[in-house]
């Protein structure tokens, strides 16, 4: 299964994505510079974390105008799998590929730590290897991960089953104490209505090995790999 990782000026989790996909999951991966438009026919596009354009103005606001994003949008429109992690999630929201927006953490502080998320939808290509309700231990590292959408939008999200993951405690309870950043409804990850575009604030790219404190991120990668295999 072939992955493409987009690289914007200021991306900094591009290497982590490359490493986990190639060295941990054993899949081929191409790095695509943002000025390019050819994605090199991947099965899945990863928009990685970092600080594209320094996060200046608004997170993801400038990156979405990069030439490569037009190709990513076309790829998604044709049903291709696209996952945005952290800053990648922010970029996909700005680009209109995902609903909602990520605003500043409630504490106004950048937060780097392991959190727990509950898989609310195991039926997406990004979570198919998870049990419904499974709890994953996975780190966050962001200053703007506070998911917001208007009430109308939230209703739609819920109705369509687009809320894929929510922050929870170790046992899977979705509580306000377990919400690290003030996200509406503890939302940690959402997908589009067609379920082929997924955004997630926590980092499956940093949780692929026990040596790093958790291998739970592998569930996300395994899901993608197996659903791509199934589609072929």
């Amino acid at each position: 299964m072939k992955f493409a990782v987009t690289v914007f000026p200021g991306s900094n989790c591009d290497h982590d994505c490359e490493y986990v996909i190639r060295d941990v999951m054993g899949q081929p991966v191409e790095m695509i510079w943002h000025k390019e438009t050819d994605l090199k026919s991947p099965d899945c596009v990863v928009v990685p974390g970092g600080f594209s354009y320094g996060d200046y103005l608004r997170t993801g606001a400038i990156a979405r105008f990069s030439p490569v994003m037009k190709s990513v949008a076309d790829f998604a429109a044709k049903g291709g799998l696209v996952i945005g992690i952290c800053n990648g999630f922010q970029i996909l929201c700005e680009a209109g590929l995902l609903p909602g927006v990520l605003i500043r953490n409630k504490s106004l502080q950048f937060i780097c730590e392991n959190v727990y998320i509950k898989v609310e939808q195991a039926g997406t290509p990004f979570t198919s290897a998870c049990q419904p309700g499974q709890v994953l231990k996975i780190p966050i590292a962001h200053g703007e991960g506070n998911y917001f959408i208007d009430p109308e939008g939230l209703k739609k999200l819920k109705g369509n089953g687009q809320v894929v993951a929510r922050y929870c405690d170790e046992k899977g309870n979705v509580t306000s104490e377990a919400n690290p950043n003030g996200s509406l409804d503890n939302i940690a990850g959402v997908c589009n209505p067609k379920r082929n575009v997924f955004g997630l604030m926590p980092h499956p790219d940093r949780s692929g090995e026990d040596a790093l404190g958790s291998h739970d991120g592998q569930f996300i990668w395994k899901s993608i790999i197996s659903s791509m295999a199934a589609a072929k």
């Binding site: 200021g10 989790c13 982590d16 600080f51 780097c112 980092h203 790093l212």
Partner: protein, 764 residues
Amino acid sequence: MTSSTHSAGSTSSPRASSGQVMDAEVTPQVIKEHGLKPDEYGRICEVLGRKPNITELGLYSVMWSEHCGYKHSRALLKTLPTQGPKVLQGPGENAGIMDIGEGWAVAFKVESHNHPSAIEPYQGAATGVGGILRDIFTMGARPIASLNSLRFGPLTDPTVQRLFAGVVRGIADYGNCMGIPTVAGEVVFDESYTENCLVNAMSVGLVRHEHIIKGRASGAGNPVIYIGATTGRDGIHGATFASTEITDESTEKRSAVQVADPFMEKLLMEATLELIHSGLLVGIQDMGAAGLTCSTCEMASRGGAGIEIDVAKVPQREKGMTPYEILLSESQERMLLVAKPGCEQKVHDVLAKWDLHAATIGFVTDTGRMVVKENGKVVADVPADSLAEAPVYHPAKSEPAILKKHREFDEASVPVPKDPGEILEKLISDPTIASKRWVYRQYDHMVRSNTLVRPGSDAAVLRVKGTPIGLAMTIDGLGSYCALDPYEGAKIVVAEAARNIACSGAEPIGMTDCLNFGSPEKPEVFYCFDRVIAGLGDACRAFQIPITGGNVSLYNENPSGAIDPTPIVGMIGLFADVSAAVTQWFKNDGDFIYLLGNIGDSIGGSRYLQVAHGKKTGRCPKLDLEPEHKLHQVLKAMADARLLQSAHDCSDGGFAVALAECCMTGGTHEAKTLGARVELPGQGRVDARLFGEAQSRVIVSCEAAASAQIEALAGKFGVPCAKIGQVGGGTLVIGGEINVPVTRLADLFFNRIEKLMASPFQNS
């Protein structure tokens, strides 16, 4: 600083007059305002064979300032040990480099940004991080980790809270945006730093041996290329403050504060590494303190060459800048490079990829002179070497009277507390001892997915992907010991850093240091400076740890006097196989607990004496170098044999605090607690045994099955080793003295700083 151990820092600024008027007359007053002494001016005239013009005077004033020229410290720094079989690059370049095997090398260095952070905490700290990162990637190394050492006044003071919040946020924002994990550090709160905070930043990078490059210019005719941010009037050494020509209106428009641009630096880093790794460059140097002046004359001087530049070609942010201003500007995020012949176009291609602008501003010559032109007209022409070689001074020294008083302090006058459990709670909640989670939670300490041991344990541990190799790193300082006994205190700083490395299971291989002191022109300060350097040198020689570079920050003065003499030590440890790494926390119920080293019987200089009795005095703990070295070796041997479940040294707060820390697994959002039941060894004062800070002690835990081997190894290395108890339960029990639920300790420990910082103002 071709010949000194330490390179440019940026704490104190000479007061220079503005270069508004290019042809301003060089009067005695102007010379004085430039911080140059009459005989220094005489030496300049001698070197030039004529009087300098105002621009040339500006060049000498910055290069011969304390922070670039190391006038007062150079002679002493030369006494430090800098050699070793692994040293690939010792002092004199932008960062030291050591071999770590498999063709890899580690580059590292620490630098101060005290003064800018005091004026503008956020930007000051951020630009400090930016500066030290440039020092690393300038050598061809990719930065893999940052560390920081911070000192402020007492945290109960709202002004201190704001300063602390700003500094931490500045460090966080810069490192996070760059995608370089900030993995370790230390924070101390003490009266001594109330008006003069210390912000020391360290960075560590990895480089293949064949990619190491230096800050040297050579090859007459090779182009000198400027890249990065445009040059503005920011940071021109206090010029704006000292100038009489500046009207109110222009002060309003001007700012000496440098604003950090981490995004620009990220581009600069990627582009620079690509240029170096593609073999397009002869040499490269960042523009830090003294900006363009320092980078040009140092590159020329190191390469035994000359350089000619035209300031009109320098990309400028403001209109009407004079050559003086362009040369002295300290605008951030700029680099100067010398391309190989025929590579100029390729250099421009790489830079275009990263949307960076480049300007060829001059070329290398074989004259040994630094020639500056403005639109072809010569505005400065001086021997490059003469700028890089500031005069050397040997200031007077005399022992501060207070040291004798400290030595004579009578410990018997201090009452032994009735409830040691209460004291332990007090110590655990002391902001200097309490968990720094509030700080490192704001730092991305995981990016690049190499961090195996995150902040919270004695040393951070990172892997080197594709190899079994790992690196341990720590940064430590002990101003309060050095204030009591500068020589012994300095030895202990080195020992503490090395012990932190050893506790993590690695071998300490190299060190960098930042020497933060008051004015060297005060004999009492210089006495301490001299003794501290002696202590650092003796400890490094005993442990066979070379010092590959560092930084000196002088003139750190409070209205009430100098800060405590504060040497900060950054240390790197090496794992041949990083799977041997150990953390400080107890792991399993039933594991055995050992104390390596002796319990001690003094409370002199301890945090306990300060926190519980309000006294910052007494005899500084003594450090015997031989047993300490043996301790490091036995720890590594135990880790190599995979015998240890945990290892943690006793430092601030002594035996009891160290035990408590072993019980509270750190990290964020995964705090776990595990109790322990131990006896209290030794005889004599209970408080001295519990909270005294005797050196060379480490608490380790192991599975019962490993205990025979632990004891055998300790015997082999001649390290005292006593089985003192077992891990388990929910309370920490120490002899008949202490019995506290660990959850209570954890609540105090992890939340103390968070609570103090809860005021909304710190975060807006």
